[in-house]
Amino acid sequence: MRLPQKERSIEDAVAQISDGASIMVGGFGVPGTPFNLIAELVRQGQKDLTLVKNDANEAGMGIDHLLANGQVRKLIVTHLGLNGHAIEMMNSGALEVEFCAQGILAERIRAGGAGLAGFISDIGIGTELAEGKQIVSVDGKDFVLETALRTDVALVHAEQCDAYGNLCFAKTARNFNPLMAMAADCVIAESQNCLPIGDLDPDAIHTPGPFVDHVVALKDLHKEYAIVRR
């Protein structure tokens, strides 16, 4: 027995994405954002996309190119604060934005990845953040029902990977990546370090191969994956 191989060209991997697709995109700020996959998605031009991401990067970077290119219908995020362009698009009605508390977004994605339908918590109880959500009582106490999130596609960036799809993330580039890598029907991972199968420490793998459908070995890391000077 040997483990299956899942290496694809970046063109073939991103070509799996259809118009109208829902897509999770890893990253929190620059770290962990799959800039190369995003650039290829801009090049291929799929339209009417729904994106799920912690943030909208900054104006002129990362998923902002998808926004500027008119490819995105809806964005589910926790915070847009660093991208004035995205805020303008939201305020002008050019972009539908749904906000979610950060840890709740993380858990909704994880629930999707874990094959659960949702979870209950007391986060947001008594504030407008719980409005419109189903309330579930347990032992006389009220909780908010949060539904699981799954998407058609997830795009993630790993520091290291192998051809079976095992992924390791670097430092704070981990963030939403391992969660999103569980929670989509088609998971595409990019990495600048695609190692031979067996070279990753089996005790130190963050995302095990079965969750990953396509592995893209990057020749060059995108120039936007760099230090941002403000």
Binding site: P4, Q5, G113, G115, L200
Partner: protein, 217 residues
């Protein structure tokens, strides 16, 4: 293992297709690993926490920290990954498991499976069986065609508490390969030396018999 059981296990192994992720349940299904070729591309999942199960290890080569869900000492393939119990079942419940092969006390003609409890006699707990049976993309059963007393295990309906409803697609026994179809059990293959009448007599529900020659294994 008897010849009949070895043939059954070998036949079941042929149901595993390249590229699959497979969980082999405790008991007979675990034996299937010995019939997979060394160059086959396949990932084996054991629910206690490994993707990429390799061959079983004897005591002299055993690692105290490396067992399968049945407690057998195993190895890990290159590229294998250790996972915690939550991630292990996340793989199962989220549909990433292509196939599980499980043992059975009873299988009903509608695909219901009972394999965890005989009230008053045997109830050591369900372990990971429910989630495997309910969520693997394909669920197949490996079992002797009858129990130790000769009573059929393939039935019109299960009498024991269910593990999962309508989940079983195919059954490999020491006598036959039987599919679960919308019309009920369909005989697909006969074990060598077993007659059609033997199988019909040992089955507790109607069997749809194919026209023409029945393949053997």
């Amino acid at each position: 293992m008897s010849d009949a059981r070895q043939r059954m296990v070998a036949r079941a192994a042929r149901a595993i297709e390249p590229g699959m992720l497979v969980n082999l349940g405790i008991g007979l299904p675990t034996r299937v690993v010995n019939y997979l070729s060394s160059d086959m591309e396949v990932g084996l999942h054991t629910e206690n926490g490994l993707v990429g199960v390799g061959p079983t290890q004897d005591y002299d080569h055993a690692d105290r920290d490396l067992i399968d869900a049945g407690g057998a000492y195993i190895s890990a393939l290159p590229g294998g990954a250790f996972i915690d119990s939550a991630v292990s079942f996340a793989i199962v419940r989220s549909g990433r498991l292509d196939l599980t092969m499980l043992g059975a006390f009873e299988v009903a003609q509608n695909g219901d499976l009972a394999n965890w409890k005989i009230p008053g006699k045997f109830s050591p707990g369900v372990g990971g069986g429910i989630e495997l049976a309910q969520k693997a993309a394909h669920v197949m059963v490996l079992t002797t065609h009858t129990d130790r007393k000769g009573n059929p295990k393939l039935l019109e309906r299960c009498s024991l508490p269910l593990t999962a409803k309508g989940s079983v697609e195919r059954i490999f026994t020491d006598m036959a390969v039987v599919d679960v179809t919308p019309e009920g059990f369909a005989l697909k293959e006969l074990a060598e030396g077993v007659s059609l009448d033997d199988v019909i007599a040992a089955t507790g529900a109607p069997l749809i018999i194919p026209e023409g020659d029945i393949p053997t294994f």
